[in-house]
């Protein structure tokens, strides 16, 4: 495929990857990975708690270090790549954004559930006014029809977003659904369009390629897939495919492969892969970061983790509702003992 547009690669290993590690990266590990990502030629490196700035909590887990420590350390090793942070209004605030700006971020990604773009207005307007590269991130994009997603994306663009993402947080989008959504945003918006996904149905690379074909300007991936659920689109695999397709991303394949094999994969205590429970996140349409919390609750209350995930999907829980996992597990345990 020929393309004149330069696709921008946004790496999530150090942000979404926090989920896979229960938010326990050491600063040294982040620095090591960030240095290799920079060397490989990745455009944007995202660093935050898995649930965005100020995600530190009992509900989502506390990280091993403060976000300031991580951001400052990574900033120092980035020579070419931009530094990004993620913020979910309702969890983090503009004060957290100011902290991240002091640490030298270039890009901020403001994430809301796919129907709630208007809660991001103050954050997007602020970021844009501060001169940050500002991205709107519409999560759980599989939950609404394409035309409704377009309306929400237009809101984010109207607040000043430079780019709006179709974010497949549950890794639940089928191939045609991914194509439709990117295509519709591409045709409606004047700003850039991005795509982020999870490999829960094994479509991490395939759907990302579809997004590029449909006109996405930015796409996300993580080295060795390091992310919530079955992980994100594995970046080194994506780059191998884009290389073969003749799409120039400017990212060096061998450097990423070495980073995946030598650094990132050995960190994975629980393999990041499309195994049964991770698959169920995609199948049931559940927020990928529910995975580890669900496995913990399943052990604690002796219920089948797959039943928990299916029930969470049935209840139409959205990102951030990790507290409902224990609620569902207790409910199932009660039913089971009857």
């Amino acid at each position: 495929m020929e393309t004149r547009r330069k696709i921008r690669i946004n790496d999530c290993t150090l942000r979404d990857g926090m989920h896979a590690l229960g938010h326990q990266y050491s600063v040294d590990q982040m620095v090591e990975i960030a240095g290799r990502l920079d060397e490989a030629g990745v455009d944007i490196v995202e660093v935050s708690h898995g649930d965005g700035l100020s995600g530190n909590s009992l509900n989502y887990g506390f990280s091993a270090h403060s976000e300031r420590e991580y951001l400052v350390a990574v900033r120092k090793v980035l020579k070419r790549a931009d530094l990004a942070a993620l913020l979910l209004p309702g969890i983090g605030t503009i004060e957290d954004l100011k902290m991240a700006m002091e640490c030298g971020i270039d890009t901020v990604r403001i994430a809301t559930h796919c129907t709630e773009a208007d809660v991001a207005r103050q954050h997007i307007e602020f970021s844009r006014a501060q001169g940050l590269d500002t991205v709107g991130f519409l999560m759980m994009a599989h939950m609404i029809p394409t035309d409704e997603l377009v309306e929400q994306a237009k809101l984010m663009e109207s607040y000043g977003a430079h780019c709006v993402y179709v974010t497949d947080s549950a890794g639940a989008l089928l191939m045609e659904e991914a194509r439709q959504r990117i295509d519709a945003l591409r045709q409606t918006l004047d700003c850039e369009v991005g795509f982020h996904n999870h490999n829960n149905l094994g479509l991490g690379v395939a759907n990302t390629i579809i997004a590029i074909e449909a006109g996405a300007d930015r796409v996300d991936g993580s080295v060795a897939g390091m992310g919530a659920g079955a992980g994100n689109c594995p970046l080194e695999v994506l780059i191998a495919v884009t290389d073969r397709m003749g799409i120039d991303t400017g990212v060096d394949l061998y450097t990423l492969i070495d980073c995946a094999d030598q650094v990132v994969r050995p960190l994975q205590k629980r393999p990041v892969q499309t195994d049964g429970n991770a698959l169920m996140c995609g199948y049931a349409g559940v927020y990928s970061s529910f995975l580890l919390h669900t496995e913990k609750a399943a052990r604690q209350f002796d219920v089948d983790p797959r039943d928990i995930l299916v029930e969470l999907g049935r209840r139409r829980m959205v990102g951030g509702q990790e507290d409902m996992i224990v609620d569902v597990a207790l409910e199932l345990a009660k039913d089971g003992s009857r």
Partner: protein
């Protein structure tokens, strides 16, 4: 005894629900005027249909109306920014003010926890809906033992979050976290709000995580059950969905960045707030808990002012 006249600033979801509550449920207060800024708003037209005076000229419209002199108490359900303008004017006019915005000009009040502490103050703040739903639980635990950290997750139906809430979501998290510390008694507080668009709308859910210095679990359990029953006296749909879940961190401490390792016990309290369905349907428990608490506070302040 004649009821005391109250004015309500704001004709959105909260102001309208409060008007209905005062009209139908208060033995002490009656709504004398609802103040809005849009003559075509649903709230103002409902007030007119219910025989309550209205103005669409904001606070100025109330100040210039003959009813103002008889009004003893003003509920402000506008926005934090607007309340900062209203507060000094109402103080000069010697009105009791119950502030339902996150402006926090006056001290925070939460029924059950500290309602009686501030009966001599002329301006009190109701924190936030999530704060009203969760701070009583934090407060109950902090009466027994030291609370190192408390965190709440409020999940509300998208339909029950009005434009004011949406435009100022940071104020919710910041104000609620402060309330958890100042009224709840936690050393450190955190608040998270989630909007869920599911249809049919989901009933408001609140989860409270309290991390405390080890104390007998049956005492903590009893204190939580008692405080939930007390809140349910003025919000009947307030209830525990599951029994509280305890998790010990005595051998494996909890690490909080910036604070270090803490040894103690975590309790997770899963709550549901079903509303009375006065204005918005029963799923919007977030409205009810706010307006019911404000009504209770207003009645108490008026009774105290009359000795």
């Amino acid at each position: 005894m004649a009821k005391t006249k109250a004015a309500i600033l704001g004709s959105g979801n909260i102001g309208t629900d409060l008007m209905i509550k005062l009209q139908e449920r208060s033995q002490v207060l009656e709504p004398a005027m609802v103040v809005g800024i849009d003559p075509d708003s649903e709230g103002l037209s409902l007030a007119r249909r219910r025989g309550v005076k209205t103005t669409h000229r904001g606070l100025q419209g109330l100040l210039e109306d003959e009813v103002f002199e008889e009004v003893e108490i003003v509920f402000d359900a506008t926005s934090a920014a607007a309340h900062l303008e209203h507060a000094p004017i109402l103080k000069r006019e010697n009105k009791i003010v119950v502030d339902l915005t996150p402006a926090a000009v006056g001290p925070f009040v939460v029924p059950v926890a500290n309602l009686e502490e501030h009966v001599d103050v002329s301006n009190v703040n109701m924190v936030t809906c999530g704060g009203q739903a969760t701070i009583p639980v934090v407060w109950a635990v902090s009466q027994l033992t030291k609370v190192y950290y408390a965190e709440i997750v409020a999940s509300i139906a998208s339909k029950s979050a009005g434009p004011g809430t949406r435009a100022n979501i940071d104020e919710f998290t910041v104000t609620t976290a402060r309330g958890i510390e100042e009224v709840g008694g936690a050393e450190q507080g955190k608040a998270i709000i989630i909007l869920n668009p599911a249809e049919p709308p989901l009933i408001m859910r609140d989860t409270v995580h309290v991390f405390f210095e080890e104390a007998p679990r049956e005492e903590v359990m009893a204190a939580i059950e008692e405080v939930v029953a007390q809140v349910a006296e003025y919000v009947p749909g307030y209830r525990l969905v599951q029994p509280p879940v305890f998790e010990s961190h005595l051998t494996e401490p909890l690490f909080i960045p910036g604070r270090g390792e803490l040894r103690g016990t975590r309790v997770t309290v899963l709550l549901e707030v079903e509303g009375a369905g006065d204005y918005l349907p029963a799923y919007a428990g977030n409205l009810d808990i706010m307006t019911a608490a404000a009504q209770r506070m207003g009645e108490l302040l008026v009774e105290a002012s009359k000795g």
